[in-house]
Subunit: 356 residues, 4 copies
């Protein structure tokens, strides 16, 4: 369904070629200064058409708030917003009306609902994530008051991976390039590789890493709403996300318990861990360390190479997908990962307040 | 919190050294034959003390149903059950009362709740998962009527990984060894490695793979309750789970779109895909193919090697954890992965019925 | 919070003097013909300015759908809509900025949220119910396909009550007068009484009765989501609603068990009850009879008579509320009662499908 | 379904003639002293066999806690409990196996679930409410720390109603008689009337009134989880409950706005209302005054008088219900009303903490 969260909730709506996308944020604490300029700037980070490696589609993606804000502050009531669809080329999709694109949601939507908006993927379009960025920006504004900050970056594109450890990364460099990789030499290689694939009409996936700092102990609700469980749901709900791990993750599968365990230490009466192989979470609850996790994204399914497929009458067909597509979504996915992180963390933060 | 699901729900309770663990299953369709022998056999698969590589703790783990079953069938009312705690050696944990074990939930529970049952990990003990196996067994009984079957197996222990592809695996071999790896030569290596680590007082993690067959198109509720999102939450809610991926997963990160996409084909009017790199899910909805995913487990945090830690008064201490622990939980985790899969799939199956 | 329902859900937003009100409907079965003309006609029934006994405020209340509808049918995706606020006289409320109106939500909103949109009651305005009427109209369209129809009417205004029994009522007469009372002589008395009170600057409440027909056995989810429990929540969530009863209700408090019980009878193998004192519900589940219940509404709190109150600085003040208010909301509340009934019934209907 | 609440939740299980009834309380704040003696005393207030006007069934109703309590305090983890069924005369119900009792849930359960535990009403038995009393007692223990107290009493039995206003009632007299009516002369009349009906084999209903004091402003979550909406759901979920109103209620239907409105006044800077016709709630949020509401109960459906009914083969039959039944449940329903009030208020109280 289209609502996420229990206390701070976000309900999303919209198809890519309908009138608008948007959503309703409920449970936002009242009195928060809603900085619309900041929210728009977050939305701009996700916007298509930013560089040579993203789709040439121009979308304005202007957010318009309809409710829940009074004299610049959150009123404690639902915050509804819309982003109007203004640059839709629906005719680009006429040739797809009767065909199921491979590894798209065309077929499953048709099977599930018996009806499907074929224009631009309809509801299954990644355009839907723009609404999440708005909700996430508001969650970030609330979390910032508690000293929490969240940064996501591209750590791998295809076979090209960052070599820096998370501890050594200069987060301020994330916005310095189109792929949002803070290690500039690797970023260059990534971009070059993506441009090559674009020329071939192909696409590539990769990994977004995310680090959240400033989180106190106590966020996360065992046993089913553990912090990592809720993050995993949030991340895997993003279009094209195919995997999630936290702390050492799959890369640490060979470590023994004696190597993986994070020893505690006490310094001037303050408890912390010597290492952070657990990614800031123990038993489903934040332990005061940095939260660290990764999200795997598959390559964009829209490629211009010829593909074998079927049409709605179950005929085998050859398909060439036209339209304006990203060869790699990683750079634009980073703000979405941040947004879903913020939405999840804020919900668990508010939940933790019910215990005190 | 301790309830999972929206229509078919499971609420879990219990600490490892309290009177009992158990739970309440709500929303189970009525009229299902509740085969208690089968449920107990599932529980036995998770039970400790089964082999040389698991803890020598003997726990009877007999399930006792209290409600919701009438003349051998589900009545449509809540099914409550208990598993009594009978073999608890609570005194084994006296030396841990004032110490936080590294990479356990001791510290975070104390910080979150201000109170903590230190005996056997209390609520954070993996013993809690026994209740999930009971709920999962009931979900499996319901799903079986629709032709769904679910098999989880150990595909990797530390650096030792299966070499067979998922398509080539003989699922009937899963139960043939203690680590539940269907490739017998690899299983032997895994077991030998675990015995070595046990002798050293160390532990190891690995990967459980899971395949679910017989699922029709249409299960999964975009955009936030996508099938993979709900599976990810369910899996990451299991103790020690650190990662999740589906289809090609992290191992396929280098694949281009043209390699990753699953081409459609039509055979005698029936649509399927030539490959299944997507693990049976497109756009958050089952596509009729086999569901395939992996779950990463970190090494058991309880090791008998000496570790540095702190006590509740913030003093630095050296710690030797006594007690009866598994050097590797993978074999016993497989039934838990199956159970959480069944619980998740059934909930989404029932949800899909509301559309017809 | 601002979402109601579990499977068919409605999330409401909007303040009376903000940009718009509206909402998101999720879980609507796909393929339903969304008859926008019908939906607008339902909205028109609730619209102010319809007659001498309602507020002279003119509000266009045009619904604009933003998503979830494709080629005239529900797509199974969220249906978002807005109703723009176009006739707001926000300056009318300037004199209320610093004063708490008696028996309004001004004081409690200020206390709860620490911030409050004073213009037209903000979020607590009955204008919010327009969105419910839209969601209810869509629920009615779905229910109509199953043969369910819902009619609410004014059965009492102040001391003036209908004398007809529910069985004798001609439901087709409901729309024949401004107060929506199907007994025309009583309706006339009600209207005359309301006009008198309007002249005095006073207001009056009363009772809406509602009957839903065509409901099969089996809707309602004991023990906490019993049909009557969910109806009660839905009704008491309407502005100014102060009471709910079903079947014989408070009026039957003197009946003995032998008088109250609905004897069963079998006619040609079909089971029904001789009487329907239970209002079509037994044990929280529909029994195949007509659902019948009543909703009490208090008098409109906005009166133009002088009242004693306090301001935000805790000074005692005298208050004269200006603005354009209804002396009696009953006629306009009937469509809202119908809408909330439809939303509730559809959610429980869809839930009942998960058992089959 | 069988879970109520969002943050403080209670999940109920059990049939009257199964092994046990009970439940799981989740979200209870940690560190609360769980006074088991007090909880048992609350349960004793609901227990059958207390007096000449209740059923002669003896049920021990001893609560046994299974989890969530450590060293006498709530641990922040789920609190599970059972009440074993020990005095069940299941054979008393053999003659009802094939017959639907009028105004019972036999028929609707059979229709909904296709299966039904006929013994003692199974899941639809009022015995299920014993579990609610346990959960309510724990909620009361939490609320007591915030100065909240809750008292329910019988204000009407059939045509016999209290004449005292709520303001004049001596709440300490509630427990002084079997019907739990604090006006002793009226209580005597009620009891005499019930004894007469018992002799006739008949039954009677009535009204429970409830007052909750010490509640600060700010509890209640508009627009759908308004305080009165959540109370209404909770109350109508109780067996045999047929109505709910708050403040002046149905009795005040003739009041004009000028009579109904609660004028504000400020005394030494403290704001309160001169009257409390609104029952302590404005706009769905507590206003600092006493919460006051009423719950209507229909007469017990089990009467020993001969009744017309049908059997499961759709034959018309004459029925005489044997067994041990209450002629009037009001006295025993009062603790259940208190319990559901406490469960509801605590959930909303905890929710209100997320704003601060």
């Amino acid at each position: 369904m289209n609502t996420i969260g229990k206390i701070f909730t976000f309900t999303s709506f919209g198809e890519s070629h309908g009138k608008a996308i948007g959503g309703i944020i409920d449970g936002c604490p009242p009195g928060i200064v809603i900085d619309e300029g900041y929210i728009q700037s977050e939305l701009n980070r996700r916007r298509p058409g930013q560089s040579s490696i993203s789709t040439p589609r121009k979308e304005d993606d202007k957010v318009e708030f309809l409710s829940g804000i009074f004299e610049g502050r959150s009123a404690g009531t639902p915050i509804a917003f819309v982003i109007w669809n203004t640059n839709q080329h629906s005719d680009d999709y006429n040739h797809l009306k009767d065909v199921y694109r491979p590894s798209h949601a065309d077929y499953t939507y048709q099977q599930k609902y018996g009806i499907r908006d074929h224009r631009g993927g309809g509801r299954s379009s990644a355009r839907e994530t723009a609404g999440r960025v708005v909700a996430g920006a508001i969650a970030k504004l609330v979390l910032k008051e508690s000293g929490v900050s969240i940064h996501a970056y591209t750590s791998q594109v295809g076979h090209i991976a960052m070599t820096q450890d998370v501890e050594d990364i200069d987060l301020s460099q994330i916005e310095s390039n189109a792929i949002r990789c803070p290690q500039s030499d690797v970023a260059e290689k990534m971009i070059r590789y993506i441009e090559e694939l674009k020329a071939e009409g192909d696409s590539i996936g990769g990994v977004i890493s995310c680090v959240a700092t400033g989180i106190p102990t106590g966020w996360g609700e065992p046993v089913f709403d553990k912090l990592q469980a809720r993050l995993a749901q949030a991340m895997l709900s993003i279009n094209a996300a195919h995997g999630f791990d936290y702390g050492k993750g799959f890369g640490g599968v060979s470590l023994k318990g004696s190597e993986m365990n994070d020893a505690f230490m006490s310094t001037d009466g303050k408890i912390s861990t010597k290492t952070n192989h657990s990614g800031g979470i123990q038993g489903g609850i934040s332990n005061g360390g940095d939260i660290f996790f990764r999200v795997l994204f598959k390559p964009v399914a829209s490629i211009s190479k010829k593909q074998q497929s079927v049409d709605i009458h179950s005929n085998n067909v050859e398909l060439e997908v036209r339209g304006r597509h990203d060869p790699c979504v990683l750079g634009r996915a980073a703000p979405v990962v941040e947004a879903m992180t913020a939405i999840t963390l804020l919900d668990l933060y508010l939940h933790s307040k019910t215990y005190r």
